[in-house]
Symmetry: C2
Subunit: 234 residues, 2 copies
């Protein structure tokens, strides 16, 4: 099959997936680039694939159509249509995000979470859509290998039994080097500007902080990754 | 003073600082937002400050002029004109960047470098301009507190005496936990897509790697920050 027009009904349908609302409604999302298309195929969530060149198993589309579908400035050679798979398994290490808003941070956190065995991410209200194109790109495919749970943190955290809950706060915190990588643990990270909400902070067993020189704070994906590395599953 | 026109010659001069070429030629750069303007003032490199509202020591500009100067979508209340200060001190911990290209990564690395005592950053060819607006924003002011050295890494690294040089590579590497935080050390990080060039890698005393589960790599600012945290100055 060859699609040459941006007005093709199929393409119009795909374009709806550029918004968070469209993705939620359809239960689908797009990924760009050969690496992510392959990762989606391996994880069994690839529904269709589109390529600029004729390839078996791909629908061929022309340059103008690819530009219409793509959300990056550079032209990608392929785009994949994926279905959102609900996978709500609870790993022994959980990352809880209380309003992380930047898609680049969200993606980097997914990538680090996978690397350090935090295989479940709990998304509180106000967190960035994980299927945002930039978040997916920054995740480098980790998005296909993690479980995600949407939750009201004020209800979810108290119900999480058997886990040591670590918050992040300099005030009343212990330094990271003193934290114990217990069998089951959850780490709470907060919003880029405001950190973890006080009422969520209060639900933690302990607060951690990273010792720093002459610096108030770190980027949230950096701070989170340092803590996940330090408390990683061995 | 009040400036209302985007055609004002002073504003036109400032607009030249939006490009790397213009900044190099003039030896100046712009920062956006009250936090960065204050940091620039504290560090003694603020030349002029522009505000939407009348404030002592500020040149008042109108909304249209601010939009013209600003490189973000949201309107910032103030912008500062800063001079580029050459400060080439060698700290005991040095971060060497071999072609880190993304401004967000560059800024996050500056922020982490400051936090962990890597107070000198050596910029090899192909590295992103540190005065890029996004890099400055992500640095959260760390840019004012670090020394920067532009260098040809193939000449610079062999001439760096008394430092343990750590490269980053999984192949022939030792795990990070086994690295020793010696008195003087340098860490080399590479380009987002290609890593550290082979010929630069060859100049390291040892290569480090971060153990990961089912993941090929981490975001460079995340990986660099984890290593800087682990080898930080105490």
């Amino acid at each position: 099959m060859l699609i040459t027009s941006v007005d093709n009904p199929r393409i119009k349908e795909l374009c709806k997936l550029k918004t968070s609302k469209g993705r939620k409604k359809e239960g689908k999302f797009l990924v760009e680039g050969a690496h992510l298309v392959n990762e989606a195929r391996k994880c069994g969530c690839l529904l269709e694939a589109y390529s600029l060149t004729e390839k078996e198993g791909y629908i061929t589309i022309t340059d103008n159509v690819m530009r219409k579908l793509s959300q990056t400035d550079t032209v990608v050679p392929e785009i994949g249509l994926c279905r959102i798979v609900k996978k709500e398994e609870l790993a022994d290490r959980i990352l809880i995000l209380d309003g992380v808003q930047d898609p680049g941070n969200m993606g980097a956190l997914m990538r680090s979470a996978k690397a350090f065995g935090f295989d479940t991410i709990v998304l509180g209200e106000g967190s960035c859509d994980i299927y945002n194109d930039k978040a997916i790109r920054s995740s480098q495919g980790a998005i296909f290998k993690l479980s995600f749970i949407q939750a009201d943190l004020l209800e979810y955290i108290p119900a999480l039994k058997g886990y040591t809950i670590y918050g992040t706060n300099v005030v009343n915190g212990i330094i990271l080097a003193e934290a114990i990588a217990s069998d089951k643990l959850a780490l709470i990270l907060g919003n880029e500007g405001n950190g973890v909400r006080k009422e969520v902070q209060a639900l933690a067993d302990k607060n951690l902080y990273i010792p720093m020189h002459n610096t108030e704070s770190l980027n949230v994906s950096v701070a989170g990754s340092i803590i996940m590395y330090s408390l990683r599953a061995k």
